[in-house]
């Protein structure tokens, strides 16, 4: 049913000693959406997810999954979710099929249903080609697929993915994004945590940006970028003229000098590029590059928190 709330979190608080891991976190996830928790390490994403999976206690607040309270009805909650953690939680000495069978037994899956789900996983997740191989023989990507297959063996309506693509190379990452989108197409509600802004941007219908246990912003990625990140900018690098001199030619625009580049802030970059380029050329200034830089969720994060999403994060496109 469109618009039906599947996950509801109200003022959740969790302390680890003196450290506040979650500080009055509230949000809701609608049926059929991919909802992202975006934040750096230590933001509280994993703690929040593990609380929703009934793996951790919390100190204050309330949370429900499919209207089941995670404390009073934890049995029903655990039967309704498929949790795929960051680590590959499979028995290395068993084959993928044996791991699937073990997971199926945890959910009391009947034999016929189990066969159907194995077939589904084989086609949908591509685990069919290595179903009978031992987990220890698999590559990292194969293990992650197997991990996901095990997590959803019981066909849960809610899937919780904790940084599912961390450590993947870009191609594998994109493949996995496709799988996650397919989960939504199959009617699943997906809660995903990530510190990859591109992943959040690409996958999520809505994103909650977390920092130090709090949700600092929550909305659709485009809306967040539009309202919070600022304008699109042109990054110009000149080559035969001192940059300051080139900057003086562009005074009519809103621009700054940064890292030996001229940053021009515009609302309609594709209209401005020819103008700027012509102006510079007409004054004999040659450019090494003119780049249109759209605001990112990282810009949103920097604006809200004053620091980068991840110090060492790199995505090679």
């Amino acid at each position: 049913m469109p618009g039906k709330t599947v996950i509801e979190v109200e003022d959740l608080v969790k302390h680890y000693g003196e450290v506040t891991a979650l500080d009055r976190v509230s949000f809701s996830v609608e049926e059929g959406e991919i909802f992202g928790l975006l934040g750096p390490n230590g933001a509280g994403k994993t703690t929040l997810m593990e609380i929703l999976c009934c793996l951790r206690r919390f100190d204050e607040g309330k949370a429900t999954v499919l209207k089941f309270d995670i404390v009073k009805d934890s049995y029903k909650v655990r039967a309704s979710i498929g949790f795929c953690s960051q680590e590959t939680l499979l028995y290395e000495l068993l084959s993928v099929r044996e791991n699937l069978a073990f997971a199926a037994s945890l959910y009391s899956l009947k034999s016929k249903k189990f066969k159907e789900r194995v077939e589904f996983s084989s086609k949908f997740l591509g685990v069919g080609e290595f179903l009978h191989r031992k987990v220890k023989e698999l590559s990292g990507g194969m293990k992650r697929r197997a991990n996901l297959a095990v997590s959803i063996i019981h066909d849960p309506p809610v899937v919780i993915l904790d940084e599912p693509t961390v450590g993947f190379d870009p191609n594998v990452k994109r493949e996995f994004w496709g799988l996650i989108k397919d989960l939504r197409n199959y009617g699943k509600t997906v809660l995903i945590s990530t510190h990859d802004m591109y992943e959040a941007d690409e996958l999520c219908d809505r994103v909650a940006i977390m920092n130090k246990g709090k949700i600092v912003a929550l909305d659709k990625p485009d809306t967040l970028k539009e309202t919070l990140a600022g304008e699109t900018s042109l990054h110009i690098k000149v080559k035969n003229t001192p940059t300051k001199e080139a900057l003086s030619l562009l005074k009519k625009y809103d621009c700054i000098l940064k890292d030996d580049e001229i940053h021009v802030f515009v609302k309609n970059p594709w209209e401005i590029v020819p103008e700027v380029s012509n102006r510079l050329i007409s004054h004999g200034v040659l450019t090494e590059k003119i780049e249109v830089v759209e605001p990112t969720l990282e810009d949103v994060f920097i604006k809200l928190t004053g620091r980068r999403l991840t110090e060492e994060y790199k995505l090679t496109q």
Binding site: C53, C54, L55, R56, R57, Y75, K76, R78, A79, I81, F83, S85, E87, L89, L90, Y91, A103, L106, Y107, V150
Partner: protein
């Protein structure tokens, strides 16, 4: 290091062990009281007086005493008048080495006693072994096989149970199980069943090897042995679960379990009688549940004990397993909830 200390404590003593002996005093005079008192003073024997021979024989059959001696009526008079004195003796042959030591010890005792009390009397006190009470000659293998059958309680049960929870926790697979609708206690019960299965296989292998390699003349009373072994295993598993909830890693927990197992095997009478141990170690052994399992199994296999003879060890094993397992469950639940 611990084993070195243990062996020093066991074998480094001047008095190798203290044997319990039963005394039936048919004379009931100051002389016989003195004999009993001197027996106790020797530190080699610990004399327990029985009202009659039937009671004493019962104790002998239950291996509560290593030998019984009957002080005949008229001993005091015969000693003072110079008439022959015949002391009847029956020795437990379960462990031939111990039997020999006890037999020689008793004979030596009366020889020395006689010299002390009546140096003028020409005929010494004779100690006669009652052949009707002697069992069929047994070797050390008959003694050791019941002990070896208890080996899996300490190693298979305890180590398997120890590693089970901690391994899953370290690997992270416990997280997956906990995220599923499986109740925490069911996880514990599952691990218990797995450890029981492992123990059963170990016991079976040892039994088969014992039968075909050692060919011991023992009584394989399966209907009695199985429940005792089950209870012994449950005690081992319960201890393993306790260690599992405390251990930080599978390696640390497994090391702890192995160390405990290695030490306990000497305390519980698996390889040699508890009387060989210093008193304080015997007392430690008496609070270890597996000691009762070892004794019960030995009674069944060597003494042909029936159910009524082993009710007390069964009760002790049930109570200890229940208490230890309950503590294990509490610790596991607290550890899970702490997350």
């Amino acid at each position: 290091m611990i084993i070195l200390l243990l062996f020093t404590a066991i074998f480094g003593r001047e008095v190798p062990f203290t044997a319990n002996i039963g005394v039936v005093d048919l004379d009931e005079t100051a002389i016989t009281a003195s004999i009993i008192s001197v027996f106790n003073d020797t530190e080699v024997f610990d004399a327990k007086v029985f009202e009659n021979k039937t009671e004493a024989l019962k104790a002998l059959n239950a291996t509560d005493v290593r030998a019984i001696i009957t002080l005949p009526q008229g001993l005091k008079d015969n000693l003072t008048t110079g008439k022959p004195i015949k002391i009847l003796m029956a020795v437990d042959e379960t462990n031939p080495d111990v039997a020999r030591m006890v037999r020689d010890g008793i004979r030596t005792f009366f020889l020395e006693f006689y010299k002390t009390v009546n140096t003028n009397y020409t005929e010494p006190i004779s100690v006669i072994e009652e052949s009707t009470l002697m069992r069929e000659e047994m070797g050390y293998k008959e003694y050791i096989v019941p002990g070896m059958l208890c080996y899996p309680f300490l190693f298979s049960s305890m180590v398997a149970a120890t590693g089970a929870i901690v391994y899953e926790k370290q690997k992270g697979t416990l997280k997956k199980i906990r995220a599923s609708p499986v109740r925490p206690l069911n996880v514990l019960f599952g691990k218990t069943l797995a450890a029981l299965f492992q123990t059963a296989i170990s016991i079976l292998i040892i039994a088969v090897l014992a039968v075909f390699v050692l060919c011991p003349k023992v009584n394989w009373n399966i209907p009695l042995l199985v429940p005792i072994m089950f209870l012994g295993s449950m005690n081992g598993i319960a201890v393993g679960l306790l260690i599992s909830c405390i251990g930080r890693s599978p390696q640390a927990a497994s090391s702890a379990a192995t160390t405990i197992g290695v030490v306990l095997q000497f305390f519980i009478g698996m390889y040699f009688p508890q009387e060989f141990l210093p008193t304080y170690i015997q007392q430690i052994g008496n609070v270890i549940p597996m000691t009762y399992a070892v004794h019960a199994i030995r009674n069944i296999m060597i003494q042909n004990a029936v159910l009524s003879d082993i009710l007390q060890p069964i009760a002790t094993l049930i109570i200890s397993a229940t208490i230890l397992y309950a503590i294990g469950i509490l610790l596991y639940k607290r550890w899970v909830e702490k997350e």
